[in-house]
């Protein structure tokens, strides 16, 4: 692998998709310095601050609210969720802390929580900001914050979990998906006892605040993972987060997302904090062998293309934005709406005839929105050189003969050429 290929591989995996200029810069400073820049960005992120969503539309509702009032509140809530989704997509495109934004999207797929049940843009934003705040550091503070995150509690029925009426949903997924991993040493009894530890936390739907109600909490002793104590949410979270299985499980998930399923993760991947783990992943010799094996997730695909084509989502007309969002919906990956608590599928599951159709339509929309400067750069090359200019634009190392042959007849139609590049096998798998 050349130095340029190495930095391009690193940037493609650690960010949402580098531009050609970013690869040029990275090539100048080298792999090592590029990694340092990615993992410890200097200077403030030049992106807009948090969106002002306004008051929660449900806050004004009472038992006596009319059907019309409820419908209006629902409409406002949907508009807020749309605004938040756009704000986030825009941030993914424009953020100068690309590695941080991509890591946040990883955590979103890991603690997969959906607004479809939470039904509050405010709580989803708070959930994301909590993941952003703790997502780079050690696991215990993250797990501790999440067991008291209102969106996660609502998503997994935590507020229904009381001393008199235990509800296992949150306790089970906490162990199975978020911390230990399936089959890693916990039993059905641990699930039941864990549920008891989590009792008492409720969410005030009017204010969005979480509240601990001692009389709903089961204060008695519980035996979890062989330890007997008066576990509560904090000590239960601490117990889980401190287990070596948890560090290994999360490190494995990170490897799976950044390096892929083809090459097994090296031993001792788990660092004392997530950024260290990420550094170990991105510097592992095995990481270099994973080129061209990962299927882009739809959000990665769309955000990366927008970055490379100079498309800023917030600058698009409403209709164009809707087209892109409809594309993500058809591809089955809308931010804030994971399909299940298990997160999104991965790998060749995205490579179906259905998703190809959606990619074709969305690529058409993206190419249509490409910035004039980008088109000018592409058409500055003579027609015969345009496939190579396109490869540079989309940060594809090289086209196969198959793809070059498919692209060549389109060199006279730059937007079609771009759309074809976006659906090509070399762009779909990186």
């Amino acid at each position: 692998m050349t130095e340029r290929e190495a930095v391009a591989h690193l940037l493609r995996r650690a960010t949402f998709g580098p531009t050609a200029d970013e690869v040029d810069d990275a090539e100048r400073v080298g792999v090592r310095a590029t990694l340092d820049r990615l993992l410890a960005p200097t200077g403030p992120d030049r992106t807009p601050g948090l969106p002002d969503l306004g008051p929660d539309p449900y806050a004004g509702l009472t038992r006596s609210s009319t059907r019309e009032q409820r419908q209006q509140a629902n409409q406002r809530r949907r508009a807020q969720v749309r605004a938040l989704t756009w704000w986030w997509l825009d941030r993914m495109v424009t953020s100068t802390d690309q590695a941080g934004e991509k890591l946040l999207f990883f955590w979103h797929g890991h603690w997969a929580t959906s607004e479809r049940k939470v039904r509050s843009a405010t709580l989803m934003l708070r959930h994301l900001e909590t993941l952003r705040r703790y997502g780079r550091g050690p696991l215990p503070p993250l797990v501790d914050a999440m067991v008291r995150d209102p969106a996660l509690i609502l998503w997994l029925d935590g507020q229904r979990n009381t001393r008199k009426a235990p509800n296992e949903n949150l306790a089970r997924e906490l162990m199975e998906l978020f911390t230990l991993g399936h089959g890693n040493g916990y039993t059905e009894d641990d699930v039941r006892e864990g549920a008891r530890a989590l009792t008492g936390w409720t969410v005030d739907r009017r204010t969005g605040a979480v509240r601990f109600e001692p009389r709903r909490h089961d204060a008695g002793p519980k035996t979890i993972l062989g330890q007997r104590a008066d576990f509560d949410a904090a000590s239960y979270a601490g117990l889980l987060a401190g287990r070596p299985e948890t560090a290994r499980h999360v490190a494995g998930r990170l490897w799976f997302r950044y390096a892929g399923p083809d090459v097994p993760p090296p031993a001792d991947l788990a660092g004392p904090d997530t950024v260290t783990t990420l550094r170990r992943i991105l510097t592992a010799p095995a990481f270099a062998q994973t080129r061209d094996t990962l299927v882009k997730q739809p959000v990665e695909w769309l955000v990366g293309a927008a970055r490379q084509l100079g498309v800023r989502p917030s600058g698009l007309p409403e209709q164009e934005r809707r087209r892109l969002l409809a594309g993500l919906a058809a591809l089955d990956q809308v931010p804030l709406r994971p399909p299940s608590v298990g997160g999104w599928p991965a790998g060749t599951a995205w490579l179906t005839t259905a998703s190809l159709q959606a990619r074709l339509r969305t690529a058409d929309a993206l190419a249509g929105a490409a910035a004039r400067t980008v088109l000018a750069t592409l058409t500055a090359a003579p027609p015969a050189g345009r496939p190579d200019a396109l490869a540079r634009l989309l940060v594809v190392d090289r086209w196969s003969e198959r793809t070059r042959a498919a692209l060549t007849p389109l060199t006279g139609e730059p937007r079609k050429l771009i759309a074809a590049g976006l659906v090509s096998p070399e762009y779909a798998v990186y």
């Binding site: 049940k117 229904r160 599928p345 060749t348």
Partner: protein
């Protein structure tokens, strides 16, 4: 990482399949496949598999209303005798299942009791992997219908799903079924046919994943041509932008079940080559406020499935269709206190169609002799699969199910 979550499975299946798919990409060329389309045996049956994601509460679907243990275990959730749609003097269907009740009385609904597997796993994802792979001890990387597809020649049109992502059950060792979108206009392509054909070619340097990406172009052309003939313009409108159904956290297709089954019906009536259709509905993870939510969901199942079975009865091809409804597990016998139920074990599997001998099959599980609060299964799900493979798909079940010898007696 020995955890085999659904996500991981999806990838794993793709990876294993991809080696073969890389070699097999040319086998999916339009011309080759189309030559076989007319070869369908008019007597050949069609399997329509309906997956209910989230763990449907079997005890409130086929309800043991006469059993005092049922009422004791879930006083707030239990249905009284006068609310159920009775099948006999012991069990009845959920009130939302009016259409299925009518089909039962017409002898076209078979209920297989207490279906499950040994050492049940209460994880949605692992349990669904187990149902998809039919390998309870250690779910592998191929689905049971994917392995059938391997043996049936690997044509992706033989096994079709109406979900954007391919369900693991259709992933084989050497081939994979096709995922066909229910909505979406096929006319908006932007790219010429020749470009799409160009991308479908193999390239020597392709990794397995890239070969799969290229194979999609070939699959798309084959599947498109098949579905084009049966899709009305009204089904091909804009992407859905409305409010989805209330969500629970465990997956399922994004499009309504009736829309998926409508497309299945049109395909069957057009006598396409497809032998297996996979459709799904999510939302059954009812940890809280179960009764109303489950009734809404079962109402959707009832309308979609009974409408489909009625429609199928009207044509010769339709009368060869067997519908199967299942979920990854049932719920605990005892309610959890938030008017819901937590993850349980065995549940009933429903078989429907003109060729089905209606009635009840197998032993109803005891509500008092429990395993840690959960039902003990009485029918191994591989008996159901083996029967479907043998009677519907005309395949030796042993080859697909690792030598499994059990069968159901009677319903097919």
């Amino acid at each position: 990482m020995d955890t085999l979550t659904r996500r991981r499975f999806l990838v794993a299946s793709g990876v294993v399949g991809a080696t073969a798919l890389a070699a097999g990409a040319t086998a999916h060329r339009l011309d080759d496949l189309f030559a076989t389309a007319g070869d369908r045996d008019p007597q050949a049956r069609t399997l329509v598999l309906i997956t209910l994601y989230g763990g449907n509460d079997g005890l409130n679907t086929v309800i043991p209303y006469a059993d005092p243990a049922y009422h004791d275990a879930r006083p707030e959730l239990a249905y009284p005798e006068d609310a159920v749609r009775k099948l006999d003097d012991r069990v009845g269907l959920n009130p939302a299942l009016a259409g299925l009740h009518r089909l039962h009385d017409a002898g076209r609904l078979a209920v297989v009791r207490g279906v499950g597997y040994p050492q049940p796993d209460r994880s949605h994802f692992r349990s669904m992997d187990i149902w998809h792979t039919a390998e309870p001890e250690r779910p592998g990387t191929t689905g049971w219908l994917g392995r059938w597809l391997d043996r049936a020649g690997g044509d992706p049109r033989l096994a079709v799903s109406f979900e954007p992502a391919l369900p693991p059950l259709l992933a084989g060792e050497r081939s994979a079924g096709a995922a066909v979108p229910v909505t979406g206009r096929r006319t908006v392509r932007g790219l010429p046919e020749s470009t799409l054909a160009g991308f479908a070619a193999t390239a020597g340097e392709d990794t397995p994943a890239r070969a799969r990406a290229a194979a999609c172009f070939a699959d798309l052309r084959a599947v498109d041509a098949m579905v084009q003939g049966v899709r009305d313009d009204d089904a091909a409108g804009e992407e859905p932008d409305g409010e989805p159904e209330p969500a629970t956290a465990t997956g399922g297709a994004g499009t309504p079940l009736d829309a998926q089954l409508d497309l299945v019906a049109r395909c069957v009536e057009a006598r396409v080559a497809t032998r297996v259709f996979s459709v799904s509905l999510g939302g059954f993870d009812t940890h809280a406020d179960e009764k109303r939510l489950q009734e809404v969901l079962l109402g959707q199942v009832d309308r979609a499935v009974s409408g489909f079975v009625d429609r199928m009865a009207g044509t010769e091809a339709g009368r060869q269709v067997v519908v199967v409804v299942y979920s990854e597990f049932g719920r605990r016998v005892r309610a959890n206190g938030s008017d819901g139920t937590d993850h349980g074990t065995a549940s009933d599997v429903l078989l429907l169609g003109s060729g089905v001998r209606g009635g009840r099959y197998g032993e109803p599980p005891s509500l008092t002799d429990l395993d840690g609060g959960d039902l003990r299964f009485t029918t191994d799900f591989r008996d159901v699969y083996a029967t479907l493979l043998e009677r519907v798909l005309d395949t030796d079940p042993g080859a697909v199910l690792g030598g499994w010898r059990g069968r159901l007696t009677g319903p097919l």
